[in-house]
Symmetry: none
Subunit: 217 residues, 4 copies
DNA sequence: CATGAATGAGCCTTCATTCAT
DNA sequence: GATGAATGAAGGCTCATTCAT
């Protein structure tokens, strides 16, 4: 009797439940961080059984790794493709930077919680982060370097400045998503809105033209 | 025998022990984050009794609040004083930005662990962060706005761009300390070294001249 | 090997384990009191995991409230039913008092540990006790008053004396269970034995006849 | 400087502080019980240093034993003297019971907190209680038996009834002090007030006359 | 596929006490 | 006589996970 009520046969629950868990996890991770969020809380928020997290992802750590990998694989893929497309389209170096930034901002807007969570978690200094840095972030740097090489070969005179520019470019793209509530409360900016992207890209174009020293097309 | 080692008469213990605890806490918080670090681990690292954390700070949460407040009070004080000094010294607007950045980078280099920890913890979205944002970050924004008003009155035509510039300036100053191991592993930069400050300030000067559009003096 | 012993498949565990915990709790509470007994000790005595107390009762306090409520609900139900039955049976007023006392003594003999524990805990002066007093003990007083009204309307001349009689009646019923080891060690009486009830009821009958002033039938 | 404020030279503090501690201890013990009250809370309530409890009484347990012994020594002394005085005064047996009850109620009214605390703590079943029972309560029973022997030699026919009468007499005397807040909230009686003693003694006189079967003079 | 009882480890906090001052 | 820093032990509770169903 009781079982029939709780253990309802849900033919499509398999995939759906998993996504519900992920959604709840991201929501709570963004409030309390990974370590500050319990599997219990996630399951409760998702309205599913506690054991399911272990069941689906092989434990809390598995969920973390799944999320990190998901983000970076998508992120790097977007970056790679956008860079290629920008190259094919031609245009000035600055326009290429803006094009890639646009794609990455779209991606992060699409996966708002995920992006923020991953960016924050990557500021820790533990083994998992080191491993992810050794793979994903190395590739990210490689892609960025390639992008900037094409963009501004003249800057190679001051390699350090070039690095700083790359760093700032990267930072500019992720910053609004790492600290959305700061932008919202202090600057009344809402990184999740489409209009934000438009406005921010204008600034990035300005930045590219001035700092990198090339027209943005 | 063992007692003689642990319960030694230490006339200056009071303050010293407290600082030892703080040092260990920051060290471990930087590796595992606040929630990922246990009071036990802190006490063990500091070589003191577990109960002391509650004894001195009124609990783990009290330690957190103490650290957050310590950082921001110092940080804002440095920013305020540097802004005033820069103004008194005269010079172009760009030079003022560089001067303030210099002071803040020095401050963060001095409190390396603390800075990084606070910056990361502020990306969470819980009540404590909201409270701190309502006080400290509001004042930070106020100081930054004042600084930029003096610097570049002409930028007011595009208020949004001005906000983005302020945001980027702020971000530029704290980014190396939020992600030091990323800079180290991926870009071979060491934010803790004095030479880093010198090099980075050169870039900031460049940035100020180009993006803000004023000579750096 | 060890796992096979501890994590045995026990189809009826759910209820059984809970009762084991309750039994151990009452046993230990009677020796050391509520505050003097640790959850660890209860779990150890019951041979179950410590976490189960929180799992089943929502914490130590929850266990306390569960026990208190369990006792009083049963106690008041017995009192109410016995009073009604005594009324239906007719008989003198004194016989009604004896009938109700009999039922309540039986109840307390059945739940020996529980009765003693609850009686003692109710002598404290904290919020929980005040809440329980506001509900259960008010009803108890109401039932007793009704019982005595029927029994001895003539006593209303001295309402204070009537109150004292009620109090003494109530006290007479619970006293042997609040201080069993005192009765045992000092008076060689064993409240848990059936013979005790028989003898004690004889005294109660005597008391009713003399103090209340009505034959006991 | 600071020391002068906190460590004031108090010439009479020695004895006064000790009594302050006792007073605070009893106050808190009555609310939360012995195990439910921490030494810290007592010291805080008394406004003295935490270490003083260990210093004065040799630990929390020492304080407990001190209080228990204090109560029973006074209680038994009062009972013994009152019994002797009642005998010297002559009068009926019932008047003797009332006289002794009067003295004991006065004593408990004088040491309200202490009485209640001791009565409750004696309902536990631990080693300390057993020890105290072996000495003090045995003597109490001896005194009571003597008192009742003189009072009602005829009751010896039913020795069990005599025991029950003694028990009820004893219980009648201590009950109002074991459960004062019950009397107050449920019956609007205030055992601490002088008028309560007067009224209650009238009932006791009634009880003695009827139950024990001797005039109260 | 999904459940929930049960576990062992660990969490943070508070305990009563000690000791040098 | 009195203090307060410091301790080791224990407190209640929550953690992520497992396993039989």
């Amino acid at each position: 009797m009781k079982k029939m009520l709780t253990k309802q046969a849900n033919p499509e629950s398999g995939k759906k439940t998993k996504e519900t868990v992920i959604h709840s996890a991201l929501k709570l991770f963004n409030m309390g961080g990974y370590d500050g969020t319990s599997v219990r809380a996630i399951a409760a928020d998702a309205g599913v059984n506690i054991a399911l997290v272990s069941y689906y992802f092989g434990g809390k750590q598995g969920l973390l790794e799944y999320l990190m990998a998901s983000f970076y694989e998508g992120y790097l893929e977007v970056m790679e493709r956008a860079a290629k497309e920008a190259e094919e389209k031609g245009g000035t170096g600055g326009s290429r930077l803006v094009y890639v930034a646009d794609a990455l901002i779209r991606y992060q807007q699409k996966y708002l919680y995920l992006s923020r969570f991953v960016h924050r978690e990557m500021t820790l200094d533990n083994q998992l982060v080191r491993e992810l840095m050794a793979s994903y972030l190395m590739k990210e740097k490689y892609l960025l370097s390639q992008l900037f090489e094409q963009v501004d070969p003249g800057m190679q005179n001051d390699p350090l400045s070039a690095d700083f520019a790359i760093l700032q470019y990267r930072d500019m793209i992720m910053m609004p998503f790492l600290q959305p509530q700061f932008l919202r409360k202090v600057f009344y900016l809402t990184p999740s809105e489409p209009s934000f992207r438009t406005n921010y890209l204008r600034y990035i174009r300005h930045w590219a033209k001035k700092v990198i020293g090339c027209a943005s097309g």
